[in-house]
């Protein structure tokens, strides 16, 4: 009996082990290739699950590009770890999404891990539409190593509750004083008419964007500005910064925004608005539609109200120096071409021409929105995404827009717009048309300053810490000045010196006029 049992046991165990071996080695995963060229890409994705390789959207794109596409998807949260380790191992796919100029990326570019695209970019019909400002902002060491992923430059503005403004009798929002007045009334005059004192003028979170937007209203620079002596100076060494700090401290003391702001995570920021707790948001303009949707889902607005009755947008408010606003850097990450897997010029050109085709209308529609009547409907020839798709369908397009560079901008079929979406788009365009955006001349220079690469994070945190402490009244003018002196001593002065040296060297490459980034105050 024991012999039979033993043999039985042995077979079961060995079958298990062999089975595990085979399945885990991925023998069954051998891929079939339909086209002569295969492009491998690595990108991040948000949400629960990336698009599967047999997604009809990807198959359609492969047909259009006549290329096999092989994606390596990495969860957004672990992307930098994975990127760094693959950089170190020299094991990169052909096209790599790079989130930003970290020290390791700058090092890898300098060491020649990626192709320099600068000399070629103008030869391709879609890629040549990348604006010079964005190319300059995204450059590393004065060279272009990646195709920037487009973001609207004029994305910032002021979003507010139009219905609240009506309730408290406000008709215009043109100056900083108007805004202050609005915040006050939104806080104390019961704008939602529920008889309770439960609203804030605005909600602030641990993200510092709003503070730096208002800084430009007071004549301050965007990051760095040019002073009277022709020197670049960081924003916090200007008078405007101090004036802005005082403005924010005053608002804090009068409780025009929430006192727990340093501990409010950015992910919860918009929640407060969609619960009807705040009236004004100084941030990206496109948050207007998200707030409206949130309010609607939470049942805070009457059924027959139009979206533009609830939300309104202005690009900026006037201060002593007229209308001014802060732009974005114009891009969010890059697509880079790795030298380890794209070895010769012919392959490189092939890869570039495929990347160029990513900007074609077909590709922007496919990877941006999916397939018609499956992921979106066409309304008057415009794309209207189907809301709340079943999981299996929404998964087919998940993450794909992360490999688009969106050049030419608005190159896809236009989206169907509600009045509010239309307003958002108009306001973004107005931002750029009005010529009020203050550029940051040092945007591309910071990554070249040795001291900034080494100590930048620590030094930035010092200022950030002092900013919050000043607004909440924990330190005064002397305290703030002490922090600035400390900043200078611990490497700040060195950074200023290096940035100015770089500025003199690269001045002719900077694609905008000097008077745009002069410090006014």
């Amino acid at each position: 009996m024991s012999k039979v049992k033993k043999i039985l046991r042995l077979t079961v165990v060995s079958i298990c082990i062999v089975g595990l071996l085979i399945t885990s080695m991925g023998v069954f995963g051998a891929s079939k290739s339909k086209y002569s060229f295969k492009l491998t890409l690595m990108a991040q994705y948000f949400g629960t699950e990336p698009a599967p390789s047999n997604s009809p959207v990807i198959l359609k794109a492969e047909e259009y590009l006549k290329t096999d596409l092989e994606f390596t998807w990495v969860p957004a949260d672990g992307y930098n770890d994975k990127l760094n380790i693959m950089l170190a191992s020299g094991n990169l796919p052909m096209v790599v999404y790079v989130p930003g100029k970290t020290a390791s990326i700058i090092g890898a570019c300098k060491a020649g891990a990626f192709w320099e695209l600068g000399p070629y970019i103008k030869q391709y019909k879609n890629l040549k539409t990348i604006p010079d400002i964005v190319l300059w902002n995204s450059s590393i060491d004065g060279k272009i190593y990646g195709i920037p992923r487009s973001r609207t430059l004029g994305r910032n503005g002021i979003v507010y509750r139009k219905d609240w403004a009506k309730n408290v009798g406000i008709t215009k929002l043109e100056t900083i004083d108007d805004l202050y007045n609005m915040l006050k009334k939104f806080t104390y005059n019961d704008p939602d008419k529920n008889g309770k004192n439960d609203t804030y003028g605005m909600i602030v979170c641990n993200y510092n964007g709003p503070f730096y937007i208002t800084l430009t209203w007071f004549g301050g620079p965007n990051g760095w500005g040019l002073n009277k002596n022709g020197q670049l100076v960081p924003s916090f060494l200007t008078n405007a910064y101090l004036e802005n700090l005082k403005f924010w401290r005053k608002m804090y003391q009068e409780k025009l925004f929430n006192h727990d702001f340093p501990s409010v995570p950015g992910a919860r920021w918009e929640d407060y608005y969609s619960q009807g707790k705040g009236g004004v948001k100084i941030d990206v303009i496109d948050s207007a539609n998200r707030i409206y949707n949130g309010l609607k889902n939470n049942g805070f607005i009457p059924k027959d109200a139009k979206d533009t009755d609830i939300m309104d947008i202005v690009v900026s408010v006037k201060g002593k120096y007229g209308l001014r606003n802060m732009p974005t850097s114009g891009y969010a990450g890059y697509l880079m071409v790795s030298k380890t897997s794209v070895k010769d010029m012919n392959t490189f050109k092939k890869v570039m021409s495929i990347l160029d085709k990513f900007g074609d209308r077909t590709m922007q529609d496919l990877f941006g929105y999916g397939l018609p009547n499956r992921h979106y409907k066409l309304v008057d020839g415009k794309i209207d995404p189907i809301p709340n798709l079943p999981a299996d369908l929404s998964r087919e397009i998940s993450g794909l827009n992360q490999v688009l560079h969106f050049y030419p901008a608005n190159g896809g079929t236009p989206r169907y717009m509600t009045p509010l979406l239309q307003l958002q788009t108009d306001m973004q365009a107005l931002n750029e048309k009005l010529n009020i955006l203050v550029p940051n001349p040092a945007e591309a220079l910071m990554g070249m300053s040795e001291t900034y690469i080494k100590r930048g994070v620590t030094l930035d945190n010092m200022i950030e810490d002092a900013r919050v402490k000043y607004i909440t009244g924990q330190i005064n003018d002397q305290g703030f000045k002490k922090v600035l002196d400390n900043w200078r001593k611990q490497g700040g002065d060195q950074i200023i010196k290096e940035v100015n040296a770089l500025y003199r060297k690269y001045k002719k490459n900077i694609p905008y006029k000097e008077d745009l980034y002069k410090i006014l105050n």
């Binding site: 991925g26 948000f46 629960t48 699950e49 969860p75 770890d81 995570p265 969010a332």
Partner: protein, 292 residues
């Protein structure tokens, strides 16, 4: 057995019960909240701060999770990784520990010192990655199983356990005609059930909860364990803040209740293991079943 309690000991008992009761509640409450929130609507999670019973319970998030086979597949992947990994761990740890528990083993002290060395110094992430890559293990579960196949600490515990076993027992077995392998398989291992169960649980929980290895070594999303997805969902909604302009205008962070439901589904299986292994814990991992 009846005891006459003094006042002091009664007070002590009462205090003890209250203290441990509060402690138990503190431990259980977060789980209850996560469970309740997984059945609640998003707006309820955002408007109410803490609750055990949702006002309008809904199964929506669970329907969403189980509607896509992706999530179920990742659960299956986790099971394969955990079971396979634990078997690999137990096999290597116990065989190595048994051999090195024998004093007459040649080169024993050199090997033991080698093991101690790995406890103090490690190559770090990048060299390990390079090694795994050059062994051709990328994209296979062996990349998750082999690099940590033996935990040095667990190894020493098992080795000491084997050393405590009386030599007489093995001698008796040998006189009865057992080979070396038979001694281990028929005599030693049956006596080691508690310690096997304990380390199976230690290793198993470790495999179930780990995600970083899969992030580094497994490129094929079809082979990802559930923890990687769970982490992505939970972290996205908390760390997204750092630079909001980086995100797409149309990007919506994942829903709160979905997050909670996935925590529940991902934690439940491994929690259900405890009752089955508990009897071995009561016996204790250092107590053998041998009486001299």
């Amino acid at each position: 057995m009846k005891q006459n309690k003094t006042v002091a000991s009664t007070i002590f008992d009462v205090f003890n019960h209250i203290f441990l009761g509060i402690w138990a509640i503190i431990t259980v409450l977060p789980f209850l909240y996560v469970l309740a929130a997984s059945f609640a609507s998003d707006s309820e999670i955002k408007t109410r701060t803490f609750f055990i019973i949702p006002h309008n319970p809904t199964l929506l998030t669970y329907k969403f999770i189980f509607a896509s086979n992706y999530f179920l597949r990742s659960m299956l992947n986790s099971v394969i990784i955990t079971v396979g990994g634990t078997l690999v761990n137990l096999f290597f740890t116990f065989t190595m520990a048994y051999a090195l528990s024998k004093k007459h083993f040649i080169g024993r002290s050199i090997i033991l010192n080698g093991v101690i060395f790995t406890m103090l110094f490690g190559g770090g992430m990048i060299p390990t990655y390079l090694l795994v890559k050059s062994l051709g293990l990328l994209d296979s579960y062996w990349a998750l199983w082999l690099p940590g196949a033996i935990s040095p600490f667990n190894f020493f515990v098992v080795k000491n356990f084997f050393q405590e076993m009386p030599q007489d027992l093995e001698d008796a077995a040998r006189i009865d005609g057992c080979t070396e392998a038979q001694v281990l398989w028929k005599i030693i291992l049956p006596l080691s059930k508690p310690i096997i169960a304990t380390f199976a649980l230690f290793y198993g929980v470790g495999h179930w909860n780990s995600w970083f290895g899969a992030l580094l070594y497994i490129n094929d999303a079809e082979k990802w364990p559930v923890q990687l997805i769970l982490r992505q969902i939970v972290m996205l909604s908390t760390t997204l803040a750092s630079d909001l302009t980086q995100f797409d205008p149309n990007f919506q962070p994942p829903q709160e209740s979905l997050k909670m439901a996935i925590i529940v589904v991902a934690t439940l299986p491994i929690m259900l293991l405890y009752p089955w292994l508990q009897k071995y814990f009561i016996k204790g991992m250092f107590i053998g079943s041998l009486k001299e």
